[in-house]
Subunit: 276 residues, 4 copies
């Protein structure tokens, strides 16, 4: 296969990504258990700042929140755009935590770059090769989510697109693949996590929210991810999931999130991971 | 579901797309059998002009050829870029046939628009929503290829992104979906063709080359597509498939293409389609 | 791969199966277009004899009807059992047509053997290896339906189980595979038909009823199957599909079946197949 | 859906299965972590007794070993048959541990019943409905492995076939499903484990050996299974995997198995499961 930089062959040391924030340095990679949390989309300034503080106080290390949202239908809520980015910046200032948000359109790069600490390339853009190449020229970490039906090989080659342009800070995020099963939104490929930690030096995190689509499955799948060797989790949390503008059924309440963090902490200890 | 414009509910008449070229008007849609042919990628001026004339003389109605190629690996041949577009323009002049080529990056829109008659959105960009929206503001037909694991619903909603911005000329192209089967490159979803002709007013064509990945399967799958109700075919043809820079194993030789056209003509007659 | 008998390597001539019935010999294999028709299940003597005569008069060559039905739920109608077999026998006498019916349980072999001309092994038993081996010791043709997620290789090896025990009369029946698509019941793998006609000498028929699960898709998919090279079709027909005890939504009315036969006849003529 | 007995609606208490053996009672179900281990197939008396004692000494609670093996090709090693069953019995006597083995053919029921403590219905027979019904009339626990592409609903209905005939002792075993991914043998559906523990009262175990097909993935996937809530594991262990007659690449060496047991013990403690 055509990997050069994404695999261990020429890069035996694990890639550890350091993100400097007001609250200190946050690390992602082998040996650390890193929790990314927040709502699917930034819906309003008040709501976002409230949930950002909550998840911070419960133990989250990085904030998530979409300003540009990829939606299957052109008639669905597609995010607040730049206004949403500015809210993320304010949350970053207040909490001291770094933020990750999705870039969908290369024309928004300057703005997304300015307001975020990690740039997310979503599943639907995992083979948007010109976007990937551009990410290779940016000096911020890039989180590449697995495509809806991307093979592990294709996913690593998507990372390779970024790496080969010079950006060494790529994070892989498993978020479930598309199968025939209909009782869950996607099928989380837990073996891929273990396989990638073996084959690649890159950090691997798991998004149990999109992977399952069901609130009650988020905690067990999150624990499975850590037990399989994941370096962290990305979890959707909303004050009031019933009122969420997107992904309500899979969003945790703050109380459920607190339990996930507690159990993740215990499992990280068993795994000898540092829970920052 | 969230369709408004892509389905028959509010648009009972079949959409027929007329493309004016030097050789007259080429039509795509219900009642016509339209053949798009050419190599996967434009590889050189000489080779492209030669094959363009050949497929024209054998009965092709539209030329295909990639100038910007989406490649799984960053190290593969990715097309000649603008130089390739200029070769397409020359072929268009010489043959009098319209051309279709893929747009991958929104920043290339002006160039691709200038040199092509139909703009193709490839499988990997079927949910590149900002690209789709931009296509809705263009006054040329857009061919939306089905995503590698896109449901029929998602595919129609991708068309809806284009339609809802004002461009009414969308062509759907089935090119096979990803399944567990490994003896073919993809699994062509023949029932989707029939279902779409029933549900939607848009033209539907089938790409048996990408769908099967095997030269010897192109003709039978092409005939199956027409028998199922497809409005046309898009077929890869190369002077010397063994030397093709991409997709050699699925490219037809000119001789095989001639046979496909002959049988397509017979089947179109049985289906009472006009073979232009 | 482990094929010896199912592929052309050692058996270049196409296998043609001859089934003697009161109305003469019915042939299945290369060069013939054979139509198998009837309801999903034998529901009652009166209804079965009525529909059997209808489909015969409309051009069917072989009757189908389930006496033992594999049902996902233990609480669904599972067929009339031996009583159903006797009704099939009566229909065979009255129409002069051969019958095909499914064997699910090896303990029913004697009865199913006695009352049927072709024994069907259903999708769910495609890897019931002891049942397959037993079919190899029977002197009647065996129709092996493709498993719900069987690869082409596994399907050919299922045929090999029958062939290697000595029974040379195996018919392959494509009935759709399981994919992520939800708008059709299964995804018919049309390229598999062409690939098998190339790779194997065995007859290949297609069941567009189970493959699509939708009445309005049966005709276009049936035509696609013949265009791709299938040697015949197996189609569910019911006097009153709304009242069918199983598979109503995909069963054709007699009027729709008549149209399928008419178009199949035209396509067979184009393909130079004998429509018996 | 058509569940009555497999789900919690009418059966709120978790089903705990007690298997009496010479070494005492082994329990499977909520609150217990149960390890089933042994080679894929019983290959010879000497080798089986040796590995049986090894896995027992390392902490296994139940022995596995196939006497009747379902093989994709009719030309592969298919097990020792009744001779294999007798070796299992001897291993049971020597170790005091219960044994589980697969029943493929209803005609072998008497023998398999006689020599085993748990009867396994394999993936390929998950919808062999007459076999399932017969299992409902047996007074031993039945382990129903998930079909290669069975939905969770179909799997529960397979259990329902056993339960509705009167046998209340059904164990569900997740062993991976078929997807497009080719770097692992199957894709283990870890969310299904959590979902089933929520929806059903039946014990759920995971087979990380078949699920991954790769030795180095067995431990992380086994730990993921326990973290997701599985009640146990079924693991292939072989003295010398390179020489195994089947499933060598996924079989653990005894040393690797020892590590799995050690980590499973730690994780069971964290989960407050009894490791017997």
């Amino acid at each position: 296969m055509d990997y050069k930089l994404a695999v261990r062959d020429n890069h035996t040391a694990d890639t550890i990504i350091n993100i400097a924030g007001k609250a200190g340095i946050t690390r992602i990679g082998k040996g650390y258990c890193t929790i990314i949390a927040g709502p699917c989309a930034v819906e309003s300034r008040e709501k976002y700042l409230e949930i950002a503080l909550k998840v911070k106080n419960m133990g989250a290390h990085i904030l998530r929140g979409g300003a540009f949202k990829p939606r299957t239908s052109p008639y669905s809520f597609a995010g607040l755009g730049v206004e949403g980015l500015k809210i993320l910046e304010e949350a970053r200032d207040i909490t001291g935590l770094p933020v990750v948000t999705e870039l969908m359109d290369i024309r928004d790069l300057e703005q997304v770059y300015r307001y975020s600490d990690i740039i997310q390339i979503g599943s639907r853009n995992m083979q948007n090769f010109s976007l990937l190449r551009e990410m290779g020229r940016v000096d911020k970490p890039i989180m590449v989510k697995r495509g809806l039906s991307a093979t592990i090989e294709e996913w690593l080659l998507a990372a390779e697109y970024v790496l080969c342009e010079g950006n060494k800070e790529v994070i892989l995020c498993e978020r479930g693949i598309r199968t025939f099963e209909v009782m869950t939104r996607n099928t989380v490929d837990i073996a891929a996590v273990a396989l990638l930690k073996d084959l690649s030096h890159l950090p691997v995190i798991v998004d149990p929210s999109h992977a399952t689509g069901q609130r009650n499955l988020v905690k067990p799948v999150a624990m499975a991810a850590l037990a399989a060797g994941a370096d962290g989790l990305m979890i959707e949390v909303h004050q009031n999931p019933e009122e969420a503008l997107s992904d309500g059924p899979q969003s945790l309440t703050p109380d459920l999130f607190r339990q996930v963090v507690k159990e993740a902490r215990d499992l990280a200890a068993l795994n000898k991971q540092i829970f920052q």
